[in-house]
Amino acid sequence: MEFGLSEQQILLQDSVHRYLTEQVPLDRVRRIASGDEQDSGVWAELTELGIPALLIPEPLGGVGLGLLDAVVVAEVLGRHVAPCPFSTTAVMAALVLLDAGMEDELAAIATGELRIGIAFNEAIGARADAGIKTDGDTLSGKCLFALDGDADSYLVATGDRSIYLVSADTSGVTRNNLTTVDKTRSTCELLFENAQAGKVSGDPHVFERALDAGRLMQAADTLGAAQAMLDQAVDYSLQREQFNRVIGSFQAVKHLCADMAANLEPCRSLVWYAGHAMDAVPEEASLLACHAKAHLAEVGQAVAKTATEVHGGMGFTDLLGLHYWFKRIGANRQLLGSPERVREQAARVQGLI
């Protein structure tokens, strides 16, 4: 019996952590966030670590690991606010394509050649002026807040939770970037006018499982980001002096940090177990993914605010870059469903409504 990460998972975590520490420091995050550099370089480098290939079976050139492994990676990526399309291409898209048996695309993901964005918004919470219509294998309409503004193709979900694969450069597709507060990852809108697409799935369960996985990755990303903010807050509080004391010696500051740690620590187990459930306890997987997403959204928001406060005015400036974590946590909260909607889903999957 072992509740925790395996040695292999810890090695995976360490290797991604080491790469990001060395190759994707805050300065590079800033360059990518400001548009001076593309995140494709990071993705290419992560390919050498096998990250895009994580969930893809070995015969297709993948690593053949599971969702708990993906959780481990997402957490490290969040810790470093790393700009890359992991949760979209490597997790959500990989799961959908695996189910559809689309081996060529999977192999291309594994080599880092194919980058697939996720346009699920119209099946999660459609806005008045959006919505997708299908006519055979063509799509028309608009999808808002598609994840990854730089993908080669998109998996587009329709209102009935069918999924279509459409290439970004097919005629009839217009892509507009949509700026959000979180500049470490991009979102866009997709406009379709009789755009040629391929139906990948008509099974709502495929959509739901990919959505669960995406939500879980956001939870793990927030876990890592919030942990990084807590660590930075504690470090800062032990350096910053006011009133002839380090501010970390004030009980008020200590209790702010203790609150963050106390609320964050159980999140780790929740997220791990949710990953394990996706791999091994299918009947609990959806409930756990919803709870992980919603609970981390709440704890993450509180940690993001408190850690900023502990930094005082410095936390508010751009100087330390703390806001990249703040905004990443904020984006994870809303994307793929706000906490209220996800909790409603948690009630639904256990038959309470």
């Binding site: 504690v234 032990l238 159980p266």
Partner: protein, 397 residues
């Protein structure tokens, strides 16, 4: 992540099940007096089979098995599933026996351990005082050596089983001139010693869950001390940690959460089932997320006791703080859900779940305070968990 216990344990689980199916008819009726023959017989049977006092040496009346956390867990799981009593608890068994095994003399172990685990000797704990709560080490109940006897004067509070206890294990100040942590001794004495007065302490729940105990010239044989004079703080701290984590077990939280769900599914207001109220449902889901997090957190801590390479230092410090706050909120949520009905208490015929929602709402506020207040817990988390500076000490006056 491997949540199975492994094939090597399936035989053990079978043995437990076999025992239960053979013997469960012998378990004492619920609410039996803890001195009754039925309870004592059952306790003896459990120890004989290794389902209680499993790792306590045979020399001291235990079963003498090697520690095995998984086996302990399997016993707990199977007894719980069969709704069979796991035998006696209490502070003598959970706190004093481990202390004696670690720090007691040969004679003390012989005299007390077997009798305690077999329920023949019931203990209470004399630690807190009216003036020594969060700052326990400032306790002032004093014991002065007079010939071969300690003479004890002072007062204890929060002594939960004082009325029924045979003996007390008690922290007293024996070295008034030493620094406060080094002037305390750990004494054992009988509760029928002359000079002991017990007063029940009614709390906000309306029950006397605790007592005050007063000592006036209580004379105790000199040798009834655990450890040396002045080592009492160290002796007590060897086991204090144990108590904290167990105040708010996550399984109980989950069970209470399911209780709320049942309430919400059965109760209606204006013909609407409470579970169909989206605002309450959202609050319920928030709580469920937190309860699940604590449940898996508990599994992580259990796992770390088996796999010593897992670092759960910080993780283990937060359990008391988060666990008690969560339970208090959960019980309060049930009250909110029921509205006016949630106020029902005691002999009110409309009381739900025996009035346990209001009772636990208050009792868990007591637990937020007791055993180290939330403020003390946060100090511990910040200082020992996060490495932040200690509170500046203010000198004794």
């Amino acid at each position: 992540m491997d949540l199975s216990y492994g094939p090597q344990y399936s035989q053990f689980r079978d043995e437990v099940r076999e025992f239960l199916s053979t013997h469960q008819h012998q378990q004492p009726p619920s609410k039996s007096d803890q001195r009754s023959e039925a309870v004592l017989d059952w306790q003896r049977l459990l120890i004989e089979h290794g389902y209680h006092s499993r790792t306590i040496p045979r020399d001291y009346g235990g079963f003498g098995a090697e520690p095995d956390i998984i086996k302990s867990r399997i016993i707990a799981e199977e007894f719980s599933a069969a709704r069979v009593s796991t035998g006696l608890g209490g502070q003598g068994i959970s706190m004093l026996v481990p202390v004696l095994l670690e720090m007691g003399t040969q004679e003390q172990k012989q005299q007390f351990v077997s009798a305690t685990i077999h329920g023949e000797m019931v203990w209470c704990q004399g630690y807190s005082e009216p003036g020594a709560g969060s700052d326990l080490a400032s306790l002032t109940t004093k014991a002065v050596l007079d010939g071969d006897e300690w003479v004890i004067n002072g007062q204890k509070i929060w002594t939960s089983t004082a009325q029924i206890a045979d003996w007390i294990f008690c922290l007293v100040r024996t070295e008034p001139d030493a620094p406060k942590h080094q002037g305390i001794s750990f004494l054992l004495f009988e509760m029928n010693t002359p000079g002991i007065e017990i007063r029940p302490l009614v709390d906000m729940t309306g029950n006397a869950n605790f007592n005050e105990v007063f000592f006036t010239d209580v004379r105790v044989p000199k040798h009834q001390i655990v450890g040396e004079r002045g080592q009492g703080w160290m002796v007590a701290n060897a086991i204090l940690g144990h108590e904290r984590g167990s105040l708010a077990p996550p399984d109980a939280a989950r069970s209470r959460l399911n209780g709320v769900i049942q309430l919400m599914q059965s109760e209606t207001i204006n013909g609407e089932k409470l579970i169909d109220n989206p605002v309450f449902l959202d609050r319920l889901m928030k709580l469920q997320g937190r309860v699940l997090a604590m449940q898996y957190h508990d599994m992580r801590l259990l796992s770390a006791r088996i796999n010593k390479n897992q670092d759960v230092k910080l993780a283990s410090m937060i359990v008391k703080l988060i666990g008690t706050e969560l339970r208090h909120e959960l019980e309060g949520f049930a009250i909110d859900v029921m509205g006016e009905m949630g106020l029902a208490y005691e002999d009110n015929p409309y009381v739900r779940s025996g009035g346990s929602w209001q009772y636990s709402y208050m009792y868990y506020l007591g637990l937020i305070i007791g055993g180290g207040t939330s403020q003390i817990q946060k100090n511990i988390i910040a200082e020992r968990g996060l490495g932040m500076p200690k509170e500046p000490k203010v000198g004794a006056r």
